[in-house]
Amino acid sequence: MTRGFLIFAFDNEKVSYFKHAVWTADRIERFLNLPTTIVTDTKSAETQTTTHDLIITDAISGGQRNFDLGQCGGEAKWYNVNRYQAYDHSPYDETIVLDSDYIVNSDQLLKVFDTHHDVLFHRDVYDITGRRGAENYRTFGHHNFPHYWATVLFFRKGKEAQNFFQCMDMIKSNYTHYSKIYKYHRLPYRSDYATSIALGMIYGHRIDAMPTIPWLLQTAFSDVKVIKMGDTEYKIVYENWNKITDERQKYEIEVKDMDIHCIDKHSFEAIVNE
């Protein structure tokens, strides 16, 4: 039974996803002792050399997105659709598809391979700042369908996983149709929505039966700066309302040996460039 990671990474004008993916793959090798295959395009792959396995394919854009949240001028194409190809691209029997902005600081992800489920990802997120920033991501669409996170997506090759990715393909191909059913914005394409809907399908549309990775996805949201202090030590900088002074105040916390889903691309870029 072969195991490994798959990272999709297609650069745009704002973010060097390929560089991020190589950095993350290095840490996977070091902390988890498992190989990573990076799915990318020619243009991205030419930006740097790597010893990790590469699969070169065409990047599929899910629309424009602002990569500088809270500021103007950060818009660029978001190549986030290819994930439905993971089953065909993965050379492994058991695969974790990982976002390139996931900082591996421990061997926690090895536990995911112990699952008896053939498809598994996170239902719930832990806001690393404790500000309940994840509340808005509990559901999606006007009618509050459960929102799952595609950040860490485990699958074991077989009929169930094949069905799952075929469902994702179908949802991708008919994304406008599904946006009308679940009443979410048609653009940009969201992998989280497609995976949530596909998981519901393979579990017979019984949402109480849909499984989840049994711990919370530790996440630093887009307004949180993550600063590297040591190999597995990070400073988390964020603002919050101070109820005593009645004004916004900067807060800092430090974490160690904890995996982090770092959504702020500038923080991640600084960490990778260190």
């Binding site: 006007h142 009618h143 369908f145 059913i181 809907i197 399908m201 549309h205 019984r206 949402i207």
Partner: protein, 277 residues
């Protein structure tokens, strides 16, 4: 009447506005699709000849609201009308997509069990209270008469006698309870007062996941309006019903009465009988 074992009783009296009997036929069909041996009775003052019902029984004390388009005042008669020793009463504008036969075992712990709380189409217990203000103001139990079990017993007789008395004395009762002036004497409120009077613990099952139903009211289901059939999609698969793709695991109180036409149009293929009203 010699009462037989157990069965489902549906209350349906047609009004000028609403074909409740059509709703009752759809409900009975939904049950027989997964539980063909279930005994089903219809309590109605209409003439109904449809073999989906094992019994059609008249209102034993006659129509208590002959001039009204709302027949709630007849509800208490179910205790005297039922042909069963043990009865699960169901409101007509519901479907039961999966068997609830296992509920009987739990119900037998009481002489009367009224369902408490309700769920949304996502199968989650709802916390929406906008339809239940009178219950909260008066600290009444959050009961839904749409699913009510009762055994032919002294206590059930007392319960439904009290329900009758509250209905008949509603003009006085409404002056005593907070917000009563705005309530026309709805069955849920009357049941709640009866349950509180006779002991909530005697009329409900605490800490159980059933009896429970999916309530398709707008705010409960994150909708803009009250007609869910205009905002959500539905799919039928024999008795199963999926609402916005979600498989419904509990009885569904669809409340938009015209939906029974869609249900019967679909169920027709599984039954040879026709409705004659």
């Amino acid at each position: 009447m010699n009462k037989e074992g157990k069965g489902y009783l549906i209350v349906a009296d047609n009004t000028e506005q609403t074909d409740y009997v059509d709703c009752a036929v759809a409900l009975a069909r939904s049950i027989k699709l997964h539980t063909p041996d279930a005994k089903i009775a219809l309590m109605t003052s209409n003439e109904v000849n449809n073999d989906i019902f094992d019994y059609v029984v008249d209102l034993p004390f006659g129509d208590q609201a002959p001039d009204s388009d709302w027949k709630l005042k007849n509800d208490w008669q179910i205790f005297w009308a039922t042909p069963f020793k043990e009865t699960i009463k169901l409101e007509a504008d519901m479907v039961v997509p999966h068997s609830i036969e296992h509920w009987w075992d739990m119900f037998r712990k009481r002489d009367v069990v009224v369902s408490v709380g309700t769920k949304n189409y996502l199968q989650q217990d709802t916390t929406v209270r906008m339809y239940r203000k009178i219950f909260d103001k008066n600290e009444l139990p959050d009961v839904y008469n749409a699913i009510t079990y009762f055994r032919y017993s002294q206590f059930a007789s007392e319960f439904f006698s009290l329900v009758r008395d509250i209905f008949n004395d509603w003009d006085n009762v409404r002056t005593i309870i907070k917000g009563g002036d705005a309530d026309p004497g709805t069955t849920d409120v009357v049941y709640a007062i009866a349950a509180k009077t006779l002991g909530i613990e005697n009329c409900t099952l605490p800490n159980t996941s059933y009896p429970k139903m999916i309530h398709m009211k707008g705010a409960i289901n994150y909708m803009s309006g009250e007609n869910w059939t205009e905002e959500l999609i539905w799919e039928f698969d024999r008795s199963n019903i999926r609402i916005n793709t979600v498989d419904q695991q509990y009885p569904v109180h669809y409340q938009v009465k015209e939906f029974s036409k869609k249900l019967n149009e679909y169920y027709e293929q599984f039954f040879t009988s026709t409705t004659e009203v």
